[in-house]
């Protein structure tokens, strides 16, 4: 077993463990903090995959913005709900069953696929992933449309969220 594999396993167990805490912790703020731990684990996974840009964006966007928004939302909706009472709904066993089945099904599918033991080729030296990403995002015969549409999507989300949540006037 190589050092990289050991690092991967440690990070994977950390990520999964904190992911499990996210869905089982009673205290919602703790759940949000565990979510941050999970997201950080995923960022390390991105770094292991040589996707440096994704790793940093994961921290900036998820930990810096989405998690903060979650914590604020929990605080905003918590006035009379002190995280008491059951945190799981009546059919939680059903959800557990479905998720176990999903994992089993995915695992089964992966077993039958022959590309699984593939190992990664080395990144060509001088390959600038961020620059390539920039090329791909603005090149008309690549992803310029998704790039602009993402901007529209986000503005639509902003307008919608502001309208839905805070339409006092």
């Amino acid at each position: 077993m190589t050092a990289e594999q050991i690092i991967f396993l440690l990070v994977a167990f950390f990520t999964l463990g904190s992911g499990f805490m996210v869905v089982t912790t009673r205290n919602l703020i703790h759940a949000a903090l565990w979510l941050i731990a999970t997201l950080f684990g995923v960022a390390v996974i991105f770094a292991l995959l040589d996707a440096g840009f994704l790793a940093v964006v994961q921290v900036v966007v998820y930990i810096g913005a989405i998690a903060i928004l979650f914590i604020f939302a929990v605080m905003l909706t918590r006035k009379d709900m002190r995280d008491q009472g059951p945190q799981m709904n009546r059919n939680w066993w059903f959800g557990a069953l479905i998720s176990v089945l999903t994992f089993g099904g995915l695992y089964f599918l992966l077993q039958g696929w022959n590309g699984l033991s593939k190992t990664a080729a080395d990144i060509p030296s001088g390959f600038d992933a961020v620059g390539e990403l920039g090329n791909a995002l603005v090149s008309p015969n690549a992803y310029v449309l998704p790039f602009e549409v993402a901007s529209v999507l986000l503005v639509a989300a902003l307008v919608g969220a502001v309208y839905v949540a805070f339409n006092w006037k």
Binding site: L33, F53, V56, G64, A65, V130
Partner: protein
């Protein structure tokens, strides 16, 4: 002269020889050397941090026409050591009802978020931790961890002041992150890379000459990110006592305090790297790596001094004004600046360099002037809307 040029590599090779001589596998030796290097760098920073306490106290007392610490040691230089001994032997209390785990993790994250920034600081052409090609975003990512530590501290302390302070601080920090991100794009455009090393190498002409407005916006956003006056609403001591760190005592408080000082110094350094050429100073960096380090530390010190100067000169701004200033003035201005810079940069790609620089400089000055005029007209109209007696707002000291 080799040692003067690249001391790190020579030291590392020397250590590698020793370690492998002991029968250590080469990979492990490399990791150990890296670990030692990081440990030495960060320990040196902590020592510098102790010195910064003295600098800060001395400078503020000169601003306020006092002498400052002068009893312990020459010029009071030993004073911060005495402070540290005090912090070390103080009792560390935890308030009842605190969320112990989160409460104890918060100061660690606060300090860590500052220390990890030094991974990407180019100290000399041959001396830098990691030449990360996503450096500019890494800067923001470390800031995100700092934001997180503040909200954790405020929430876990089980104290109203701490919670209010944390909310305010986080609202300000995240808001000013947008103009900061936007102006970070400008050196990225010029250098064609997000790496701090590439940005430094590309500054044959300091970027402050081609984007003075960007440098100014970065400084303002950095001060807000630091939570320093005039943007220190989060710890407004006249109403919130101390803000998010109110319940912390002893060394845990020391971590927040030292983190804040080192953070200010670090942002002074990043200001120098992004806009003032980093370690470059008339070819001095070519002579020796040690001179380059001296240059970058000197520039960072000047940046730190400017941040202090602003802190001890201006009054605290009310939180609604602060956020309005960001969202209604600084953010649109940063976006317009980014668009103008990108456009001019493309249009003048083939122009002579003196022409390019002067057009860039003039466009920045013009944009700054126009935005100030627009803000003046807008605020005059807003003021006319408010009828009745003139409202005088009193800022707290």
């Amino acid at each position: 002269m080799d040692f003067l040029q690249d001391p790190l590599k020579i030291a590392a090779d020397w250590l590698l020889g020793i370690f492998t001589g002991w029968g250590m596998p080469e990979i492990a030796a490399q990791v150990l050397i890296g670990f030692l290097g990081v440990l030495i760098l960060l320990s040196a920073l902590m020592v510098l941090d102790i010195f910064l306490v003295w600098v800060e106290r001395k400078v503020v007392s000169r601003f306020q026409d006092r002498i400052g610490p002068n009893r312990v040691g020459p010029f009071g230089l030993i004073q911060p050591l005495a402070d540290i001994i005090k912090l070390l032997i103080k009792e560390d209390t935890t308030p009842e009802g605190a969320d112990r785990v989160v409460y104890n993790i918060a100061p660690l994250l606060s300090m860590m978020s500052v220390l990890i920034l030094w991974a990407i600081v180019p100290l000399a052409p041959t001396m830098l931790g990691v030449d990360l090609n996503v450096g500019a975003l890494y800067l923001i990512a470390a800031g995100a961890i700092g934001t997180l530590s503040i909200i954790m501290a405020g929430w876990a302390s089980n104290n109203k002041y701490a919670l209010i302070g944390a909310f305010r601080q986080v609202a300000v920090m995240v808001s000013f992150e947008i103009p900061m991100l936007t102006v970070l794009l400008i050196p990225t455009i010029f250098a064609g890379s997000m790496g701090m090393s590439a940005i430094t190498q590309n500054q044959d002409i300091w970027y402050v000459w081609i984007t003075p407005l960007g440098a100014l916006i970065f400084l303002i956003a950095a001060i807000a990110e630091l939570g320093r006056a005039p943007f220190d609403m989060g710890e407004a001591e006249s109403e919130l006592v101390s803000g998010y760190n109110i319940e912390y005592s002893g060394m845990k408080f020391g971590m927040f305090y030292a983190g804040e000082l080192l953070h200010a110094f670090t942002f002074g350094g990043f200001w120098a790297i992004l806009f003032f050429g980093g370690y470059r100073f008339f070819g001095l960096e070519q002579v020796s790596a040690f001179l380059a380090v001296a240059v970058v530390v000197f520039k960072a010190m000047i940046g730190y001094w400017i941040i202090m100067w602003i802190k001890y000169t201006l009054l605290r701004i009310r939180i609604d004004h602060m956020l309005a200033f960001n969202w209604k003035f600084l953010t649109p201005l940063a976006f317009v600046l980014l668009m103008v810079t990108a456009l001019l940069n493309a249009l003048l790609a083939d122009a002579a360099s003196w022409f390019y620089i002067s057009i860039m400089f003039l466009s920045n000055v013009l944009l700054g002037w126009i935005s100030l005029e627009v803000a003046r007209v807008y605020s005059r109209r807003q003021r006319e809307k408010v009828e009745g007696p003139k409202v005088v707002e009193v800022a707290h000291h």
